[in-house]
Symmetry: C2
Subunit: 295 residues, 2 copies
DNA sequence: GTGATCATCTGACTAAAGTCAGAGAAATGT
DNA sequence: ACATTTCTCTGACTTTAGTCAGATGATCAC
C-alpha cells in the first residue's frame, strides 16, 4: 500500500510553509487578511450572495456582515438585496474595488512568478503537470453527492448538458422533447431521487432514481462531466444511487442504455449488472441491465 | 510557455480550501492554533532550541516565550538551558506532551485518510507521485544559497558527506587527511568563500571558492546531496559561485575534477568550461577546466 | 578583562479574528 | 392567515495573534 496520507501531510507542511506566502501576500495590501480574502473572493465571481461567501470562506454571519460593512465604507463593494429572495443580499465590486482586486491579483501573481523563477522551463512544466494532477485528484476525492430537486438549476444544467452530449453521440441524434419537465415528478421524493455531485459549486456528475414498482427501481440520467471522467466518479455515483435505492426498500435495480455508450456499459458490467430483457419502450435504448439489491 | 503561475495559484486556492482542514484540525484539540502548531513542531524533532523554533515558525521571540510558558504551565513541555550555549534554551516534550502530540498526529492522520478514502488504490498512488514531484520541485525552487564559515557545522557536515562519497566512487578511494581544517582558511573571506544551499534547515549542496592569484579563482568542493540531484541545483550553485567570483574581481575561473565524476564533467562543459593544462598537483584530479569571467 | 553581540524573557500594548444572543425582515408550509 | 424557518444585521463580548521597548544574563572578539 502506498502511504498517500504521509505524503499528503508532508506536502501540506512543506507547501503551506512556502506558499502560505501567497496568502499573506494579501497582507501588505494595507488591509487585514480577512478583508482582503473576502474582497478577493467577491471579485473572483461576479455577483455573489453573502450566503455563498459565508459558505465558501466558512465565516460567522455576524463577522461577515462586519467585514462587508468595512469594505463598503471603503467604497470597494456594494451590497444590495437579492431580487430573487429579499432575505439574501448580493455583493459586487465597485470600480475602486475592481482596482483593489487587480492589485491583489497582481501581487499574488508576482509572488508565484518569483517562486518558480529558479526552475528551468522543463521543471516548470513538470511542476505544472504534477500540481494539475494533484488538484484534479483532490477535487475528485472531495466531491459531494447531494439529493436536489430535479427542476433545480443544478439538475437542469446537468441534464441539459447530458442531453446535448447524447444528441452528438447517438447515431441519428437525440431529441429530449419535454422529458426534462415530464421526468421531474418521477425523480422527486418519495418515489424517486435526483442526485448531483459537486466540486465546490460546479456540478460534475448527476444521476436519477425512478421507482417502477414495489420491487424495482430504475437508474436514469447517469452522467459525468467531460474533464471529470476517469476519476472514478461514475462508479461512486452508481454506488451512491444504489445505497439510496436500498434505503428506499427496493429489491432490484434496472437500467437501460444505448449501445454506443460503451464506457457506461463496461462500468455497469464491472459493478455487477447483468443483461436482462427489454423492460421498457425507450426508443434510444438497446441494452437493458439488472442487479439485485444486497439486503 | 506553460503557465505554472496560474496552475500554482489555482492549486493553492483549491488546496487550502480542502486541506486547510488539516491545520485547523489542530483546533478541536482545545488548544489555540498557535500553541498546537508549536507543540507539533516541538514533538516532530526531539530536543529543539527555541531559536530553531522561532526560525521555523517565524515567530517573535516575545511571542514564542509566552507560548512556551503556556505549554509549560500545562506541563506539556520542559524548557531547559542549552548546555552548549547558555543563552539558548532547549525544549522537550513531557510524557503528557508526547501524548497530546500523538493525539494531534492521529487526528491529522485521520483527516488525511478520510480525505483520500474515496479514491481508488491506483488514484492514490498517482496522487502520491504527483504530490512528491510537486514538493521536490517547490523545495528545490526555494533553496537558499548562503555564505557560511567553512568550519561551521553545516559546512563540515556537507564536506564530510562529500568526502565519504568520493571515497566510495574513486577507484582506490579518497583520503581527505586534514583537508577539512587545512582548507578552511583558504575558503574564508576575503580570499575565499564557502557557500551552502539549504532547504529549510537541511544542507542540500555546497561549493567553495579559493583565490589562487590576482587573476584566478578556483572552484572546489562542489557537491549536491543525493536525492536532490537532477533538480538543477548543481547549475545554480555553479552560477552562484561564478557571480561571487566576478564580484571578487577575478578574471578567470579554474577547477579540477576526477575522471569518474562524469555528471560533473558534463555539467562544467555545458556551462562553458573548457579543458586546460594541469594547474595543480592534486593527486585525485585527472581533468582541469577553465572559464573566463564575463566582465 | 571588557565592550559588543546574541538570545531570551517580561510588561504593556494593539489589532484582528471570532463568538453569541437576540432583533427584524422576508419567505415557506399548512 | 399564522406559525415556522431562513437570512442578515447589531451590540457586546472573548480570545488569539502579534508588536515593541527594554532588562537580564551568556558568549564572543580582541
Amino acid at each position: 500500500m502506498s502511504d498517500v496520507e504521509l505524503t499528503l501531510r508532508r506536502f501540506n507542511r512543506s507547501f503551506t510553509q512556502r506558499i502560505g506566502v501567497l496568502d499573506s501576500s494579501f497582507l501588505g495590501s494595507g488591509r487585514p487578511l480577512g478583508e482582503a480574502r473576502l474582497l478577493f473572493e467577491i471579485g473572483a465571481a461576479e455577483r455573489v450572495t453573502t450566503l455563498e461567501l459565508r459558505h465558501r470562506l466558512g465565516l460567522d454571519s455576524g463577522y461577515l456582515s462586519r467585514l462587508l460593512r468595512a469594505l463598503e465604507s471603503d467604497e470597494l463593494v456594494v451590497v444590495a438585496p437579492d431580487p430573487d429572495d429579499g432575505r439574501r443580499r448580493v455583493v459586487d465590486l465597485t470600480a475602486a474595488g475592481r482596482q483593489a482586486w487587480d492589485e491583489l491579483d497582481a501581487r499574488s501573481d508576482e509572488l508565484a512568478t518569483a517562486l518558480v523563477s529558479p526552475l528551468t522551463e522543463r521543471q516548470r512544466a513538470e511542476l505544472d503537470r504534477a500540481l494539475e494532477t494533484a488538484r484534479r485528484l483532490l477535487e475528485a476525492a472531495t466531491v459531494r453527492f447531494d439529493v436536489v430537486d430535479p427542476e433545480s438549476t443544478d439538475a437542469v444544467t446537468a441534464m441539459s448538458t447530458y442531453f446535448a452530449e447524447l444528441d452528438e453521440r447517438f447515431t441519428g441524434g437525440f431529441d429530449p422533447g419535454d422529458t426534462l419537465t415530464a421526468d421531474a415528478e418521477s425523480m422527486r421524493a418519495p418515489h424517486g431521487r435526483f442526485v448531483v455531485a459537486r466540486a465546490d459549486a460546479t456540478v460534475v456528475a448527476c444521476g436519477g432514481i425512478v421507482r417502477i414498482d414495489d420491487d424495482t427501481a430504475e437508474i436514469k440520467r447517469m452522467w459525468v462531466a467531460e474533464g471529470w471522467r476517469g476519476l472514478g466518479l461514475g462508479g461512486r455515483m452508481l454506488a451512491d444511487l444504489e445505497h439510496r435505492i436500498e434505503a428506499m426498500g427496493a429489491a432490484r435495480i434496472v437500467l437501460d442504455t444505448n449501445a454506443v455508450l460503451t464506457e457506461a456499459i463496461t462500468m455497469y458490467e464491472r459493478h455487477g449488472y447483468r443483461p436482462t430483457d427489454r423492460y421498457n419502450d425507450n426508443p434510444y435504448a438497446q441494452r437493458w441491465f439488472t442487479k439485485p439489491c444486497r439486503s
